[in-house]
Amino acid sequence: MLKVLLKKQLADVFKSYFYDAKKNRMRSKGAIAGWFIFFFVIMVGMMGGMFTGVSILLCGPLTEAGMGWMYFMILGGLSIFMGAFGSVFNTYSGLYLAKDNDLLLSLPIPVRTIMTARLLNVYLLGTMYLATVLIPALIVYWAVAGLTASRLICGILLFVSVSFVVLLLSCVLGWVVARISLKLRNKSFVTVAASLVFVGAYYFFYFKAADVVRDIIANAVVYGEKIKGAAYGVYMFGRIGEGDWLATLIFVAVTGILFALVWYLMTRSFLNIATASGAIKKTRYVEKPVREKSIFGALLSKEIGRFTASPNYMLNCGLSTILIPGAGILLLIKGREICEMLESVLASRPGAVPVLIATILCMLTSMNDMAAPSVSLEGKNLWILQSLPVIPKMALRAKASLQMLLTGIPVIFAAICAAVILPVSPALRALVIVTPLAYTVFMAMYDLTIGVKMPLLTWTNEIAPIKQSGAVGIVIFTSWGFSILLGGIYMLIGYKIGPAAYLVTWTVIYAAVALFLLRWLDRKGSRILAEL
């Protein structure tokens, strides 16, 4: 029974490997094998490889200084972080918010078995993540410091104990996420903000990692003494990998006690957790005065509502709404230095700096593509638009307007920042604003055109139109190409006519193509939408 339940749990976690949401059918055996090979390469090749590199970098100097414990403290800590955070959202959805709890509880399966299967699933996933750090760390240590019986046994016990620590943390963190999630009102915005903070932190630590490692190696003795004095427990944790039996016994015992405690609490509360409704606090309806909207206003509000309701949509198709103002602020702070540096590097291409700044803004603009999946996102709701007295071209214009609005306003801000710092004529400053704006309009029309030409309405998961549809794939690759053309052609031949004439030419091209696409959308695009 446990095996069957566990198999079902794992199949649910890896369902995207077996099932093609885009085509709404099972993948072929070859495709399933391909996805698993890809997963293996990511986990073992990339993540395992990265942590093997970190282990090699740290292990030699630290063990030579007699501080192998610090090596295990760092990598053991990293593995706990990876294991717990890597599986926290799976724990949240698999343990506390499982959709099939009602079904399983109605079947003749003991509650304890259901709980064990859920925990085993969390345990296996957490262990998989921590293994990418701890297994390379142990192997590197055994290779560098030498393998003894006590190091081998204590190393294995360290791995097993850490896997249980990860399980405990996952349960606790998953519970915290579940509680926060139930209380949140603007869940999508918080999810987007949390994702951005996480990605930002990842890149911050990624770029700082080399400095941190160098610092640790250079000041290992000083840090070591401080840790021993202030956090003896952490020191003892590091000693396990070195083969310290006392530290191993203490750690295993403490982990065992904590695990027994969590197991006891889970068995007492699992039925409550499993049968909790998970419903968000009910918002009480209070009648308020309503502001009437025009048909276009209503359609645009609908598009904004859809965009802001979906973290997936916002993160995948609207990240530049935040990045572009960020680039503007960066230009205000570091812009003059960047311009001076670019001018000296590109001395042979006079006037290249304003063109390149405009190119960068266009490249960032290309990252916003909310119009591309907007038709597909209508999905099963398409009947509403089709049955209402709405001219299809108005519905399409509302979709394009969402992208123009959420990209255009940030572009104006960033372009004004650029115009402020650029040491060029007022006309050229104006063009640095106008060209990216024209590009924004062109992109909105282009993205929507592709979206209308390649709709995907049969999706069951919104990720399919947002990330995996042909329309979005084409838009992502080609739009980057369009933006690069602006700077690239200038470098090749454009500089011969000067930056002002060059930017005017491109502005006219963008405007003309946007106008052409708008006419196409108004006529043929509207017909396609009406007949989908």
Binding site: Y285, A298, G305, Q386, A530
Partner: protein, 235 residues
């Protein structure tokens, strides 16, 4: 009010609707019955302008659905068999969205929302996201959205599915009231008892073809509608 003439729609090789003609007049509740896959939903969707058809004409109050779709849609409302509404909106936002599309003044829409939501006991849930609604609640919301702009013609595909007995009873009353006030209703159903009690006229469709149409008395005579329907199905 709703005139369907020689409607034909094919899916690949299969003729889903074959030369079907119907005329739904002012004040009529017109029932449309047939087995699964007979062509009911295809006819209803074509009449609303959701589905492009191959031949025939559909007019609503004299306006052609093909040449003047927006005017036609101004005068009709549609409730599909599965109420897939905008999950990302709350119930009240959806009703305001529909009201904005039909340019209903705010005071009027608030009065109607209050009336219908109270009637269906949905008022307390209007601020909830539609994603949190049950099937029945979505169906009630779809009914309110259909009635909110006082359409002349209401087209419904299996409107009673998912509704509780009280809501079904209310809907039947609203249908009668709507037609008594000069409107028309064209709806499909599998519940023959409901059709028998509620409809002024009924049409039976089989494999895309109209096999019987007329007033309830004309169609069923002294038999029950169920007997007539099963008899026609067996032929």
């Amino acid at each position: 009010m709703l005139k369907i003439e020689h409607l034909t729609k094919t899916y690949g090789e299969k003729k889903a609707v074959d030369d079907l003609s119907l005329h739904i007049q002012k004040g009529e509740i017109f029932g449309f019955i047939g087995h699964n896959g007979a062509g009911k939903s295809t006819t209803l969707k074509s009449a609303v302008g959701i589905l492009k058809f191959d031949a025939g004409t559909i007019t609503i109050n004299g306006h052609s659905l093909l040449s003047d779709p927006v005017t036609c849609k101004q005068e009709l409302a549609y409730i599909p068999d599965n109420p897939d509404l905008y999950d990302f909106m709350s119930g009240i936002k959806y009703l305001n969205f529909i009201s904005d599309i039909f340019a209903i003044p705010s005071a009027e829409r608030q009065e109607r929302i209050r009336r219908y939501a109270d009637m269906f006991e949905l008022t307390a849930d209007l601020a909830q996201p539609i994603s949190a609604y049950s099937h029945g609640m979505k169906q009630k919301l779809a009914v309110i959205a259909a009635w909110i702009h006082s359409p002349k013609v209401i087209i419904m595909d299996e409107p009673f599915v998912g509704l509780d007995p009280k809501a079904s009873h209310l809907l039947k009353g609203m249908m009668r009231e709507h037609c008594d006030a000069g409107g028309a209703i064209f709806f499909s159903t599998h519940v023959l008892e409901v059709a028998e009690k509620l409809c002024d006229k009924v049409a039976i469709i089989k494999q895309g073809k109209l096999v019987k149409v007329g007033t309830m008395e004309e169609v069923k005579g002294d038999d029950s509608l169920e007997e007539v329907f099963l008899e026609l199905e067996a032929e």
